[in-house]
């Protein structure tokens, strides 16, 4: 009973964290689902977003401006990965790993900006000293300071913007690029350019998520993005498994990823209350993603034999 009570008590926190990670999940959705690329840049660009935003806030820059800078930094990371992949011919997954690795060094440098040290692995933000947009401290408060409110607004705005963008000629051509490259080129679409563009948009979202997470948790750490891709995938997959049948519209599909992230954090909170160590979470997350990816594959492979090759008539 005690466990249950403390779980319910921690739900607002899971909700806040899930919303911030939800933006990251949307970024993963864009690459993994729309572009059909597993982009591992995100482990690095999430921390880059946090680092850029954190450093600027500590320097006294307006937090909205700091967040915008973080988004641009993330987009730049996506641009690098995209160019490594398209202009240099490196496989997408390796391109992402290369950028991610390089960002580890860069993030340590970024966090040390304005400091006497040359590199820095952590950066503390405090809602008492810094003008943070969101802070987990107020997550159970019934006031306008409650971070869930602003996070929900930001998530809604981001979904709205992406919904509009992917309905434009350019956005449609990016979706086509992910759906069928041969067809896209035959329709005059520059698939390389579109892949780069998709990676840019995605990593912008991821960096924004990092910037919000840094403020929410009050700290930037060099490791904050480690395994982020798997958490993002978990959110995307949970959202898809639970809501794919109900959510048909593109905006709702993006929302499903955010809901997936919230559910993910609710479950994480629960298993922590049940006595798991927080260091066990990466194992758990990896298991969840592996299982959720395996089930549909096995279903297709072992349980749908008879259904093929019907309806070939015009």
């Amino acid at each position: 009973m005690n466990v249950l009570l403390s779980f319910v008590n921690s739900l607002p926190g899971a909700c806040g964290q899930g919303l911030a990670w939800g933006l990251m999940a949307i970024g993963v959705y864009l690459t993994y689902k729309i572009l059909d690329v597993a982009d591992l840049t995100v482990d690095g660009s999430l921390a880059t977003g946090g680092a850029v935003c954190g450093v600027l806030i500590v320097m006294g820059v307006n937090p909205w401006v700091a967040m915008l800078a973080a988004i641009l930094a993330g987009m730049l990371a996506g641009l690098i990965t995209g160019l490594l992949h398209t202009a240099c011919g490196i496989p997408a997954i390796l391109s992402g790993i290369l950028t991610q690795l390089a960002l580890y060094s860069l993030n340590l440098r970024i966090m040390a900006i304005g400091d006497t040290a040359k590199t820095k692995a952590t950066l503390a933000l405090s809602v008492d000293r810094n003008p943070l947009l969101v802070s987990s401290r107020f997550v159970r408060e019934l006031s306008l300071r409650n971070p869930i409110l602003l996070l929900a607004i930001i998530v809604a705005a981001a979904i709205g913007l992406l919904y509009w963008f992917f309905g434009t000629e350019l956005g449609c051509s990016i979706r086509a690029t992910g759906a069928n490259q041969n067809m896209s080129r035959a329709q005059g679409i520059n698939t390389d350019k579109n892949k780069v563009l998709g990676l840019v948009v995605s990593n912008g979202m991821v960096a924004m998520s990092g910037a919000l997470l840094a403020q929410y948790s009050g700290s930037v750490t060099i490791d904050m993005g480690r395994g982020a891709i798997v958490i993002g995938l978990a959110a995307v997959i949970i959202g898809e498994v639970l809501l794919d049948k109900v959510f048909r519209n593109f905006a709702l599909k993006l929302l499903a990823s955010v809901i997936g992230a919230i559910i993910y954090y609710a479950v994480i909170t629960l298993v922590l209350r049940l006595g798991l160590e927080s260091t066990d979470l990466k194992l758990l997350t990896a298991l969840v993603v592996a299982v959720f990816l395996t089930v549909p594959y096995w279903k297709e492979k072992y349980f749908t034999k008879a259904k093929k090759e019907v309806g070939t008539d015009v």
Partner: protein
Amino acid sequence: MSDTRSMLELHGVYKTFNPGTVNEKRALNGLELTLAEGDFVTVIGSNGAGKSTALNAIAGVWPVDAGTILIDGENVTGLPEYKRARYLGRVFQDPMTGTAATMEIQENLALALRRGEKRTLRRGITKKEQEQYRELLKTLDLGLEERMSAKVGLLSGGQRQALTLLMATLKKPKLLLLDEHTAALDPKTAEKVLDTTDTIIRENHLTAFMVTHNMKDAIAHGNRLIMMNEGRIIFDVAGEEKKRLTMAELLDKFTEISGNSITNDSVLLA
């Protein structure tokens, strides 16, 4: 034929795959071809004769080793595939290739309507277009006009090929490239799709290049027929002469020119 403009010119086109390896294959060997406006040429030849390679060279799937390719007088030899798309309509052998399965029928058409144009931040599909698509889909007589927001992945192979044809010609191409586009369909469906092909080419006065494995189709369709062998054109008939061409003559021609290779090409005899 002399006073019409040429829509396609291939001059001395060479292409070798895997050069310098044991798998080296000279696929195009100084290919020469000129298509006049309105020509509908069918292209036959045994496996590896260079039919599809010729088509891919025109489409710009990869750069050629030597030679020039002109479309309506413009040299496109150096243009990448997506830039040549402005001039070309294409239908592929695999019904999966020509359409985006996870996108709606109308979204696929909207992508095709903007072929060769800059993709901007304007709406990807407008109300006005939807009406146009509905009318066009009606002409296919497959009931697709009632399913415009259905995902293309739900359609059968024949429906997808018919849709791809529509997409390839929605914006009038200077040249329509058909790469064995009925080979993956059952005979009845293949015939229907070929009928649609004929209608679309005739009504839009298109210039077309149709690769086929089927001699009967090659004879029955188009105003010109070419046979390829070892990366070159070895037989070229048009007009009345082509109309009189029979299966038997064509087979004779084939054996005469390419020696006994006919015997080990069962597909051709199908």
